[in-house]
Amino acid sequence: MKHLLSAADLSRDEAVLVLDTAAELAAVTDRSVKKLPTLRGRTVVNLFFEDSTRTRISFEVAAKRLSADVINFAAKGSSVSKGESLKDTALTLEAMGADAVVIRHGSSGAPHRLATAGWIGGSVVNAGDGTHEHPTQALLDAFTLRRHLREGSGDLDGLRVAIVGDILHSRVARSNVLLMRTLGAEVTLIAPPTLMPYGVESWPCSVSYDIDTVLPDVDAVMMLRVQAERMHAAYFPSTLEYSRLYGLDVARMSRLPDHAIVMHPGPMNRGMEISADVADSPRAVMVEQVANGVSVRMAVLYLLLGGMKEDI
């Protein structure tokens, strides 16, 4: 595989290979010297057109642990903010010899365009594009689910996952629906109807408008960030009503089976989609998700750039 543009690019075997590779690489993180020589001499560019501290840092750490040279290219303060096009930026990076470009862009499909327009020859990794996809987030979520609920190996066959929140605008939800399905998990999307994508009934998942009836039957619940500004576009009447109907507080969390975990891709709106005591509870795995993000991104870069197995 040359690029990772969509979670749908991965077959079940490929997805499991990424997760297995991530598990091996995670062991490196526990060593005192957290570095492998496997991508030495290779250049990874983090091309971020949107602000994203956590995803950018995660990719940066991942690439550096594999000994790649990392160039961080943030749109703000660069020539992009002076009107340089995606194409010219890509041509510049190509001339500098980028082996992989990790791109975050506000426009859905921008990574796809970067990979197929003939501007660059290297691998393209989608680090979040508009309201389309965020495949490495889905991989780290799968990795986290596997660790907690499948003893860290194989696929996610039979696992039940609820994803709650602004599905309409969520690239995390789209990638997770696709990847969870590939790995055999059953996903239920939960949101007010205004925050469901048009045509969601044809997606490979279930849909519910009622969080309380779904929670008792899931192994994990993933809460998505809901921006308060959506209220002004009439997606819901008030943040209070949203929080009351779809937010995860302690009372609601108690409806989950005992083994179930609580996830959130971050950044969280405490008090909006998730209450502070839920966010800080032992069932919440957000900090672990961040750590797993590094391992999974190491695995993706390693597999796309053809690192040497014996270097691990």
């Binding site: 096009s85 995606l86 194409k87 862009h105 506000g106 426009s107 859905s108 499909g109 921008a110 796809h112 365009r113 197929t116 327009a117 594009d129 508009g130 309201t131 389309h132 996809e133 690239r171 789209r174 994508p197 048009y198 045509g199 969601v200 044809s202 997606w203």
Partner: protein, 427 residues
């Protein structure tokens, strides 16, 4: 003046004749081989009345990097057109007699087709105050079609007044039907695919709701309404209903909405970005059927040239629109004539007679009879041509048909008795 003879041509694909042209009009339909004059070989070719486009963006003044009146009318002539309606969304906007006369004069100077400027309905296309519709109508450009195309006249009162006002000079309001609030930030047809691709949806209802309102308004005030680039099956239903009720409404469909579907957007290649967006296969079927049964009156290109950089980028940043003049006939051939949905005479209606009538262009859209103004498109129905962007006469290259093989070829175009295209090249 010597006469011209189109030797052995088949009017509407019927029996061959020699069409003899003198002083700009057809003077004789003679037995093949008997017509006297300068011979243009047209044996086995089909003669149709010159095509009339109700919807062309010539971009001049303001965006001469994308197209000029000269390059756009070259493209038109090569596409078999003898008349184009130049849309008002130029810079400055064609909302005064001065601008429409400028565009009209540029058309006269180019001398390839009749350039009929479309006047803006509202000042600056801003949807707030009526432009000087009467001044444009009474100018040398004799504007009869008014449109804020690119934007919808969404204010119901303003639309009502415009519909009423243009009655005084036989004008028509050509509505770009797009409810603005329902389509804020819209990138593609709203459907299962837009949800999956994470692109903001342009719902069919945003078009259909405006058309429904406008046909009711047109009926209420007894005015003539024209609907631009109809793109959905629901719009077809509304227009069919309105016509059955006797509303004086006409409608056009673009070639691209007759042949392309939203599936192409999966590539995220902005060459397929257009407004209204490409729709579903079911919509395409409904549009073809509506064009066949006359619910939709005309094919109009919505020829929308854009410079390369406005398409060579990510989807959201790209401009909306596609070239159409040089491929319109081939697409019509492929989607309507070859499948047997339209006869040659029907096609002449949809590409010449009806658009000329809607635009009130008295010198265009004539049947091929003695005494008619000699505006002709002479086509080879048996040719098949692979679309090559670099071979187009338009200044822009944004054709969605790159590499596609399409049937039919425009061989000769004759404008007011003068050949503008001979053997597929500008004369």
């Amino acid at each position: 003046m010597t006469s011209l003879v189109l030797r052995g041509v088949r009017p509407y694909g019927e029996d061959p004749v020699d069409i003899v042209i003198a002083d700009g009009v057809i003077v004789d339909l003679a037995a093949p081989g008997t017509g006297d004059g300068e011979v243009i070989h047209a044996e086995d070719l089909v003669a149709l009345p010159g095509f009339v486009d109700l919807h062309t963006h010539l971009r001049e003044p303001g965006r001469e990097d994308a197209e000029t009146v000269l390059t756009g009318t070259r493209a038109a002539a090569l596409g078999g057109f003898t008349c184009v309606h130049a849309m008002a969304n130029t810079n400055p906007v064609a909302d005064t007699a001065g601008v429409v006369e400028q565009v009209w004069r540029l058309g006269q100077v180019a001398g390839l087709v009749d350039v009929r400027p479309v006047g803006a309905v509202t000042l600056g296309l801003e949807g707030e105050r009526l432009a000087e519709l009467g001044a444009m109508a009474h100018s040398a450009a004799e504007v009869r079609v008014f449109s804020d195309d690119g934007k919808c006249v969404h204010d119901a009162v303003l639309m009502r007044r415009a519909l009423e006002y243009v009655k005084a000079f036989g004008g028509v309001v050509a509505q770009h039907a797009q409810e603005p609030r329902l389509t804020e930030g819209a990138q593609m047809n709203e459907g299962e695919l837009s949800g999956r691709l994470g692109l903001a949806g342009w719902p069919a209802v945003a078009e259909e709701a405006i058309i429904a309102r406008d046909v009711l308004l047109a009926q209420h005030v007894g005015s003539r309404l024209h609907v631009c680039h109809v793109s959905t099956a629901g719009s077809v239903e509304v227009i069919r209903w309105a016509k059955a009720r006797g509303v004086d409404v006409t409608a056009e469909v673009t070639p691209h909405h007759l042949i392309l579907t939203e599936d192409l957007v999966q590539s995220y290649d902005p060459i397929y970005k257009v407004n209204p967006p490409l729709r579903s296969a079911a919509d395409v079927e409904a549009l073809r059927a509506a064009l066949a049964d006359g619910t939709i009156d005309a094919i109009a290109t919505d020829h929308a040239p854009h410079p390369h950089e406005d398409k060579d980028c990510e989807w959201a940043a790209a401009a909306m629109g596609m070239l159409g003049l040089e491929t319109a006939f081939a697409v019509a051939m492929s989607t309507m004539v070859e499948p047997g949905l339209l006869s040659w005479r029907d096609l002449a209606q949809r590409m010449s007679v009806q658009p000329a009538r809607i635009g009130r262009v008295s010198t265009q859209g004539h049947d091929l009879v003695v005494g008619a103004v000699a505006n002709l498109a002479v086509v080879d129905p048996d040719a098949r041509v692979v679309v090559e962007p670099s071979g187009l006469a338009s200044k822009s290259r944004n054709t969605p048909y790159r590499g596609m093989e399409l049937p039919g070829r425009v061989v000769h175009t004759i404008h007011a008795g003068t050949p503008t295209v001979l053997d597929g090249a500008l004369a």
